[in-house]
Amino acid sequence: MSRYIVRRLLLAVVTLWALATLGFLLVEAIPGDPARQLAGPTASVQTVQAIRHAYGFDRPAWDRYVSTLVRFTHFDLGYAFSRSEPVRSVIARDVGHTLTLTVLAFLGELLIGIPLAVFVTSRKGRLADGSLVAAAGATSAVPTFLVGLLLLYAFSFRLRWFPLGGTTEGWRSYVLPVLTVAVPYGLVLGRILRTSMLDELERPYVQFALARGERMGRIRWRDVLPNSLVPLFSVLALDFAGLFATVAVVEVVFSIPGVGEDLFGAIRRLDTSLIIGIALVAGLVVVTVNLLADLAVIAIDPRVRRATLG
């Protein structure tokens, strides 16, 4: 058990290291003089020299690479010139909104996807079944931010039920952004879970439970659902990662001051350290969630535990 955890942790660390290296290489790849950019166009040559030395731009690349990695381990992600503050404080202030939205959207996804899958498997081949498959296909054929724009247009601009954006109106500000993400993801989850449950319903234990006199609805919820859900944990973890990225885009639509909006602003101003800082934080979230999901499956499912741990 501990050997597996150590190996898994190692992979997580290596992933983060690869991300950080990628970030470093991307910054290196930017044409232009970073010292001149920091100093501004009117600064004297001496000032630029001083900045170049102070930030270590005159040191060899490998030296800067090592010190960048060391900086990253201290969560020092550099300076966001477009915001005139360190990247760390921008992210620390705004990541809360993004994480809240992501978690709410994830819960929404489960609340939509799971009951839908259970309901639809009792009606295989009938209208409800086909509708789920079609609806999941339709919502995944357009980018999520368009779903957001559509909801915004209908419910905020036309009907005026919800605010047009921002987070000033309490829970009402969160309804549309969460639905925007939760509905498409919930439909897709429902569809995947449906396939998984239909396979599981063929198993002999379902016949046995029926023969013993259990009601089908109870078997579906109590036996078939957990058995079909656990193998999907790694899918759900990747889903969470996708959610985080999707939420970042949806924030732009709904003007929610999370890291997605920061990313949008950073792209407009070409603030590379902020862009890479946000990508690194997203990577950290994704790696952590994947790790937790893999460990959770091992904790929950004895079959996987035996297969993985020998």
């Binding site: 368009l146 990662a241 885009v249 990508a279 790696v287």
Partner: protein, 316 residues
């Protein structure tokens, strides 16, 4: 190895199977799939025709900014006989821009996925066939690639590499090679244990020959199914990137850049968002129908991790 000759296949041909009873679930599902693939192919051929024949099909010059195309308020115009899908904020014909934009978006996505598929195939096959640590390293690399949120990676890459089609293609390849390598690996690991691979080896076939001649044909069907799905997902990526102001930029028209530049007007002129979205939706539906249809159950040897890889790509 004469078993690949045309003469042999004739011997192996199985006579027509007796028809399954009416309404048998398997038959019906397969029928639906086949219908889906057919619809997808028709849609795709239509779109491909519009893309290839863009100069002939487009009624106007997509780059020409017309004063006559602006409304009385100096903004876009709604659809009319003169401008079938209306005009954009600079008085350009939306229909023509859409026709040319589809060319850029769908062409770039198809090219990027073709490259990503080749890279994924090579890495997946090498990782599956190598018994040494090298294969392991390749697969760990793929796992790392899968763990990076695709849209953010693409956003970081395109913002550093600058706007334009080449940087978009690089970003898409960087996102999509990993899941495709995963799919290849998952198949190849199973296929390489089959007796015919053993037979080829005992007949003296080398490692490369086994990979290319024996294993690849068994990997391709499922890999191409995922490649088809990925082309659609890549188009979704392009639209998200364009919306964020990345990738292909004005004045070049692409689905993403049209969505991005239409955003300020969408309350009064929803068409600027809706029409590109519909065209994109048509394309993604076509690739999805084809991809899903090709991914029939009997063709997938290994499940499990593949689904996870597939979900990773959906995280748009």
């Amino acid at each position: 190895m004469s078993d690949r000759g045309p003469g042999r296949t004739a011997v192996l041909t199985i006579p027509d199977a007796p028809p399954l009873p009416e309404g048998a679930p398997v038959a019906r599902e397969q029928g639906e799939r086949r219908l889906g693939v057919r619809i997808g192919v028709v849609l795709l051929v239509l779109i491909a025709f519009v893309c290839v024949a863009a100069p002939l099909v487009a009624p106007k010059d997509p780059y020409r900014e017309n004063v006559a195309g602006l409304g009385p308020d100096g903004g876009p115009q709604g659809p009319s006989l003169e401008w079938p899908l209306g005009t954009d904020g600079k008085g350009r014909d939306v229909l023509s821009r859409l026709i040319y934009g589809g060319r850029v978006t769908f062409g770039a996505c198809a090219l990027a996925i073709a490259l990503a598929t080749l890279i994924g195939l090579a890495i997946g096959l090498l990782a599956a066939s190598s018994e040494s640590a090298a294969g392991n390293v390749l697969m760990r690399m793929t796992d790392i690639g899968l763990a990076i949120p695709g849209l953010l990676l693409a956003a970081a890459l395109t913002s550093v590499l600058g706007s334009g089609v080449p940087s978009l293609i690089v970003a898409l390849v960087a996102v999509f090679w990993a899941p495709l390598a995963r799919v290849t690996y998952g198949q190849a690991v199973v296929v390489k244990e089959r007796p015919f691979v053993e037979a080829a080896r005992s007949l003296g076939a080398g490692r490369i020959r086994i990979l290319v001649v024996e294993i690849t044909p068994h990997v391709l069907p499922i890999l191409l199914a995922y490649a088809a799905l990925s082309v659609g997902w890549a188009a979704l990526f392009e639209s998200s990137l364009g919306f964020l102001g990345l990738g292909v930029q004005e004045p070049t028209s692409s689905i993403g850049s049209m969505l991005g530049s239409g955003l300020p007007y969408y309350r009064l002129h929803p068409g600027l968002i809706v029409f590109p979205a519909l065209y994109l939706g048509m394309f993604v539906t076509a690739t999805t129908l084809i991809g899903e249809g090709l991914r029939t159950p009997h063709r997938r040897v290994a499940a499990g991790k593949t689904t996870a890889a597939e979900m990773k790509v959906i995280g748009r």
